[in-house]
């Protein structure tokens, strides 16, 4: 199988060095890492990819059955690692990809050396005393708002929104695809992401793990980051002085510095 085309893989940095695999979260694509990943290219083999259904991935490979749970995405990550023969992997996952990495690392622990979970959440919906930050009704509302936005972002509209280059350095290829997804795929990915519950998987993680948490994040609040760090034995929690859910975009310096310190240990 041509995994490079299927996942729109970018294979950068030092070919013989330890691999660092960067996975994007729900919403956009691998370009979320463009201010962070290049800083590791001098010492690592840097592998970026798009989940099937996002960015430049092979949309034809989208299978609603395979991708009806995060396990399908974790299988993809393992497939990618096997086909590219990546071992001793440092996995960096943003948002939902944190849990995708956790599932993959639990399934094939020998393949992963370290995990970096950026703004992770093992469960978004409140449950008893667990505070995930959202109610079930909130998630239903999200699916609804996706619907209304994708109505406006029909295939005819999207290029107008994305293509007007006020930041020309990003290039056409990026503006064409960034944050654009097939509405049906986005809806299923949203449902799979925000209905998931991976709290029980955290304790099974055996790799040294770094949890990067933003000071103000409406999707993954500080308490959730703390929960993840508490549940993974020996993990380290770093609170970034950043707001929002995407420190890889809003605070790339701090994000890269924290990762660099962790991977050079």
């Amino acid at each position: 199988m041509d995994v490079k085309a299927r996942f729109n893989v970018a294979d950068l940095g030092q070919a013989d060095a330890q691999p660092m695999v960067f996975a994007h979260g729900f919403g956009c694509d691998q370009h979320m890492w463009r201010h962070v990943a290049p800083r590791f290219e001098d010492r690592f083999r840097v592998v970026l990819y798009d989940h099937v259904g996002a960015g430049g991935s092979d949309l034809g490979a989208y299978d609603p059955v395979r991708y009806d749970s995060l396990a399908g995405y974790a299988d993809d990550l393992l497939l990618l690692c096997r086909e590219m023969d990546l071992r001793d992997v440092v996995f960096v996952g943003h948002s939902v990809s944190g849990m995708i990495g956790v599932l993959a690392a639990v399934a094939e622990p020998e393949r992963f050396a370290k995990l970096v979970l950026v703004a992770p959440s093992p469960r978004y919906i409140d449950d008893g005393t667990y505070v995930g930050g959202f109610s079930k009704a909130d998630i239903a509302e999200l699916l609804d708002s996706l619907e209304s936005n994708y109505l406006g972002w029909s295939s005819a509209m999207a290029p107008v929104i994305m293509g007007n280059g006020e930041r020309p350095e990003l290039g056409d290829e990026l503006t064409e695809s960034f944050c654009r997804t097939d509405p049906r795929i986005a809806r299923q990915f949203a449902r799979v992401t925000f209905m998931s519950d991976n709290r029980a998987d955290l304790a099974k993680v055996s790799q040294p793990t770094l949890v990067l948490q933003c000071r103000q994040d409406v999707i993954a609040p500080v308490a959730v980051g703390q929960y993840v760090a508490d549940a993974i034995a020996g993990s380290r929690l770093v609170l970034l002085d950043a707001t929002g859910h995407c420190p890889n975009l809003s605070a790339p310096d701090a994000t890269a510095a924290a990762i660099a310190e962790f991977v050079s240990d």
Binding site: E141, L142, D144, S145, S148, I161, L174, F178, C246
Partner: protein
């Protein structure tokens, strides 16, 4: 010489000298009165909500229109809330996963649909445009956001969505109906013929919403006397489906009274002519009889490809004589041909979905390819029927444009 064009200045000292002097004068007075509009007033009374936030989204400045739309007091918002805090939970997730990344990467975002939670808890559907201001070193310093009330537009969009969902449901319903109907053109399960192997391959064309006219049937007339039928009604759609069902059941009924296949075809011809439909069809009827422990096959073809006989160490060959199309003329010509089947013989009947299959390059699969394939792939009835179907679907790169039906009968031994 044309008059020298004046610059379109509207200051008091340089009025246009000619043209619509009166209307220009009125416009000038109007603009003069507007000069009383200070920037604050322009800002506060703009016909859209207007917000300025820090790069982190903290509200630094907000106009009166936004406050009026949402019912907040300025003091509730400025320096206290972020724009994302004013959104519904679903909107917050959308903002953080799509809107904010887009702004950070692209510097602007337009026509994003969100719901603002107003001071009284009600929801205001809005469309939002934002641009990022950069400081001297190119870092984001502020975000300017225009907020448009989209209540009516959102209601209209919901109607569109409901209509789309309804359309999708009826399409799914139509597909299910077509599939069910199409499945009635073939026996629900192959009958077991003692002493013979029977196998079939059947694949309707297209996406499934359209009904094709290929059918086949295999049934017992009496002990050791079996009838095998394959046919193709011209055209597609509901009318073709009605004729297909009619054809299948007419042959079933006729075979009981008519011992020769040509008789069954003649009855079908008559029924179709009196049915009132313009549809005609091609049909092959094969009568398989066991007498004195030997199988015979009697065939009559009505405009249909001849059956092929595959006999060990002999090239596959058609048998029977071509006859008229069925349901077209008053005095059709149908004849019967009987052959004796030997152990190891395989008889194959098929529709033109096999031989008239076209490759993406436009080449026909044709009779020669079929005969060559059969010569190279001798096997059981199952292997032959499944093999031909697979071969023909692959020949068309997996996307057949016509129905395909293949039935194979083998004498074991």
């Amino acid at each position: 010489m044309p008059p020298r064009l004046r610059s379109p200045s509207l200051s008091a000292t340089s009025r246009p000298a000619s043209g619509d002097a009166d209307s220009n004068h009125a416009l000038e007075d109007f603009l003069g009165a507007l000069a009383g509009d200070d920037p604050e007033r322009l800002y506060d009374r703009a016909p859209c909500g207007y917000l300025t936030t820090t790069a982190d989204g903290l509200i630094a400045k907000v106009n009166q229109t936004f406050l009026t739309l949402t019912g907040y007091h300025r003091g509730h918002l400025v320096g206290a809330r972020r724009f994302v805090d004013l959104l519904t939970a679903g909107g917050r997730i959308y903002h953080e996963t799509h809107y904010a990344p887009l702004l950070q990467m692209h510097g602007s975002a337009r026509e994003i649909a969100l719901d603002v939670v107003c001071a009284d808890g009600s929801r205001l559907p809005v469309l939002v445009n934002s641009v990022v201001e950069l400081d001297g070193s190119g870092r984001p310093s502020a975000i300017r956001t225009a907020v448009f009330d989209a209540t009516q537009r959102r209601e209209y969009e919901r109607e569109l969505l409901r209509e789309r969902q309804r359309a999708e449901e009826s399409e799914a319903h139509a597909v299910a109906l077509a599939r069910t109907l199409q499945q009635s053109f073939i026996p629900p399960a192959h009958p077991r013929i003692p002493g013979l192997e029977l196998a079939a391959g059947y694949r309707p064309a297209g996406s499934g919403a359209e009904i094709g006219g290929d059918f086949y049937d295999a049934f017992e007339v009496s002990a050791n006397d079996w009838c095998l039928v394959i046919g193709d009604v011209c055209g597609k759609g509901v009318e073709a489906a009605v004729v297909t069902s009619l054809a299948r059941y007419t042959v079933r009924a006729a075979a009981v009274r008519q011992s020769l296949p040509s008789g069954a075809l003649a009855t079908l011809n008559e029924v179709l002519l009196h049915h009132g439909s313009d549809r005609f069809c091609t049909v092959t009827v094969l009568r398989l009889r066991l007498q004195d422990r030997r199988w015979t096959a009697t065939v009559s073809c009505g405009g249909h490809p001849l059956p092929l006989l595959i006999r060990r160490s002999e090239p596959p060959v058609g048998f029977g004589r071509p006859g008229s199309l069925v349901g077209l003329v008053d005095e059709p010509e149908f004849s019967d041909t009987t052959i004796e089947l030997r152990p190891g013989d395989v008889v194959v009947v098929y529709t033109d979905g096999v031989t008239e299959a076209r490759s993406p390059e436009g080449e026909f699969y044709d009779d020669e390819r079929l005969v060559a394939w059969l010569a190279e792939h001798p096997g059981s009835a199952d292997a032959v029927a499944e093999g031909i179907l697979r071969e023909v679907v692959e020949f068309q790169s997996g996307r057949p444009r016509d129905d395909i039906a293949v039935v194979a009968v083998a004498v074991p031994g």
